[in-house]
């Protein structure tokens, strides 16, 4: 038996012993997801037991080094763990922007002190992070941001407003782009870590067309950010004024995540399920709708292969650095189309905003939510700009 097969058998046994039955169900509601943080509560004992077991094993962040709270798994081992968790439908023990976004940036740019402290806290779900990138007026054109940090010797005084800060009202810390040099456009931005309990930080939810509010506005008024949080723990990641490098690196990770590379919902075929749902209501699919579903399934299944290829190529270091932009573009456009078709197949039932049958209007709310896919994390138009300039090397600005 190869080492990897051995690892698979051990993992399977460990999951069998440690993943409670309630955690082997697809996530249905927001409170099925555990985000961690200072004020987090568990929905039930099973959620807590599963989380605790994973923290102990390092499985909230399996590929991170053991010193930082991970399990130190190799890429093939991490893949085996993913496959084995998927096999039993295990829920993620911890969802976190710290894991998806800040963590990779700290692993790449952080000081040893920052890694020791923050990566461990993220892995153990002790602090919940949000992202402070966009501002009113600086959406896709991030480098035009205005939030300003004035150098006061041992601290910064930060003033400004961030927008689209996901779940900021539930978060403990924010990783934030702050202008620290007004003369330099790109090389005047610093990537700062700010405790949201600091005097002067406040948040306000933004209600969206879906009726839900995962996003907030975050206000920074005379916020005093110490330059150091302890020995070898500077407040900024990377160098002062070089935060754009960190931001770009992190956006690559965000785009990978939003693109749904590696499978998940948006690469699944939907035609068969739509036919079954229609049949349950004594309905059938119009031939033209069936045809559109078939064309969608072709695109979705092909995109699933692209996701797999993309991850294989990343592992082998064969992928173009701008390829995540292509993945993000294709994945998000596909997901929007998917939900349009699901609304069409659902008919009037899917219009219901509050009924029990629709789980409180899930189809409609999910459909509306997907409209943000091609806006958040850089619009589709920005993705196409990047692909045309950096991959196709077309001329101009």
């Amino acid at each position: 038996m190869s080492d990897l097969e051995q690892f698979r058998m051990e993992t399977r046994a460990w999951l069998e012993a440690n993943c409670p039955a309630e955690m082997r169900e697809p996530v249905r509601d927001e409170d099925d997801v555990y985000w961690g943080g200072r004020n987090a509560t568990f929905k039930n004992d099973a959620q807590k037991a599963w989380f605790d077991a994973c923290v102990e094993k390092g499985y909230t962040v399996p590929a991170w080094p053991k010193a930082y709270g991970g399990a130190g798994l190799s890429a093939p081992e991490a893949k085996v763990l993913r496959e084995e968790m998927a096999r039993i439908n295990a829920r993620p023990p911890l969802s976190s922007f710290g894991i998806w976004m800040l963590g990779p940036a700290l692993l790449h740019f952080g000081t040893e002190g920052q890694k020791q402290r923050f990566l461990n806290e993220i892995a153990r779900g002790e602090i919940r992070w949000c992202q402070g990138y966009s501002e009113p007026g600086s959406g896709s054109d991030l480098v035009s941001l205005q939030t300003y940090g004035e150098d006061k010797g041992d601290h910064w005084v930060v003033n400004g407003q961030k927008v689209w800060t996901s779940y900021a009202d539930h978060c403990d810390w924010i990783f934030c782009l702050v202008r620290t040099d007004k003369q330099n456009k790109y090389q005047g931005i610093t990537f700062m870590l700010i405790d949201m309990e600091t005097q002067g930080v406040s948040t306000k939810p933004i209600k969206l067309i879906s009726g839900n509010s995962p996003f907030c506005e975050t206000f920074l008024e005379d916020v005093k950010v110490p330059k150091s949080y302890g020995d070898d723990i500077p407040a900024q990641v990377g160098e002062v004024n070089r935060g754009w490098d960190v931001a770009k690196y992190l956006l690559g990770h965000e785009r990978e995540m939003i693109s749904g590379a590696g499978g998940g919902d948006r690469t699944a075929a939907i035609g068969a399920a739509m036919k079954r749902h229609a049949a349950q209501n004594g309905d059938e699919l119009d031939p033209v709708l069936r045809a559109e579903l078939a064309m969608f399934d072709v695109d979705a299944l092909a995109y699933g292969c692209m996701g797999e290829k993309f991850l294989d190529e990343i592992k082998a270091g064969k992928t173009h650095p701008a390829q995540p932009n292509m993945m993000k573009y294709a994945g998000t456009e596909l997901n929007k189309r998917r939900h349009e078709l699901m609304m069409a197949a659902g008919g009037s039932r899917s219009l219901e905003w509050e009924s029990e049958e629709t789980g409180g209007g899930k189809p409609a709310r999910n459909w509306l939510r997907t409209k943000a896919n091609s806006i958040e994390g850089g619009t589709s138009e920005i993705m196409l700009n990047v692909v045309s300039k950096r991959i196709l090397e077309l001329p101009g600005g």
């Binding site: 045809a291 078939a294 292969c305 290829k309 082998a316 294709a330 993705m383 991959i391 077309l394």
Partner: protein, 379 residues
Amino acid sequence: MPLYHDEDQAMLADTASSFMAEEGNIAKQLRHWRDRDCKDGFGHDLWKQMAELGFNGILVDEADGGLGMGHVEAGIVLEEIGRNLTPSPFLTSSVLAATALKHGSDDLKGRYLPGLVAGDSVFAVAIDETAKHRPERITTRAEKSGNGFRLTGSKSFVVYGGSADMIVVAARTSGADNETDGITLFAVPKDAKGMSHDAVRLVDSSMATHTKFDGVELDGDAVIGEVDGGREVLDAMLRAGRIGAAAEGVGVARGAMDRTVDYLKQRKQFGKLIGEFQALQHRAAHLYSEVEIARAVTIKTQQLLDAGAESADMMTSVAKAKVAKTARLAVQEGVQMHGGIGMTDEYDIGLFMKRDRALAEFLGDAYYHANRVAELSGY
């Protein structure tokens, strides 16, 4: 297996790429034979050269003199054929007929495979009977006659049928026209009495035939596989041919896209390179994205076929449909972005549009295969 070429495959790709660009390019092959109104529609010398490189026997077992490789490797050659619009009987002979012959008797293999591997023989396949690809319905009949069969019926879209030394024919030996069972495959030699060809040149300058079988007498040993049990062989042959056509289609899409992107970097209008215009940049980037996805589903499906995976059949249709849609987009954007010169015979981009049209129709178009995906998915 990761979804990119391993070292050996990358070497094969280098060889195929430089050979096709050098010897199989549009000026040397497609235009050359077209402008001479060549009745074969391809060059036998190139076929011989391909044999010398081992290409022709890629899917032929080593025991039969081939390289014993798989669909990934055949796809590598086909993608380069697509990029250069190289007229070649590779797909009909080395992919379709070779796959059918895998199921043939030693006698049949001994009779036909050496010629294929050496580049001396060319094969064709006769499946379609109507203008659209409908292999579910076979009406051409082969009735028992003495020790052999009498073949009666007609086939269309027999690509390179007039040049073929042998044609693989799908015929009905029992059952009704729409039945799955009762199909038998035959290796019909070039000089079979009662076989006649009505040759036509197609839009892409390739040659095809409407072929009639008027009581063609065949020996029992012309049967490939089992009598009445040919559907399985036919399906295997179709899967090989479809993923092969998909690989060639990826090549056509890439060839058209590369030319178009190059043109965007050279052509000036209103004092600017047209590649500076965002309207064109976005369309080019969208095209790139589609071509990448089409390549991914093609290599994934090649690997699934080589591994004998259960999902390979449906994924073959996903790949054929996705590539057909993508190559169509590539050639249409190509001609449009080239502007007026894109409509001229002098520029090559229009040749890609013609080839795409013929290739997409071969073994089922995007509609046929998307419908098949729906059926196989249960809707």
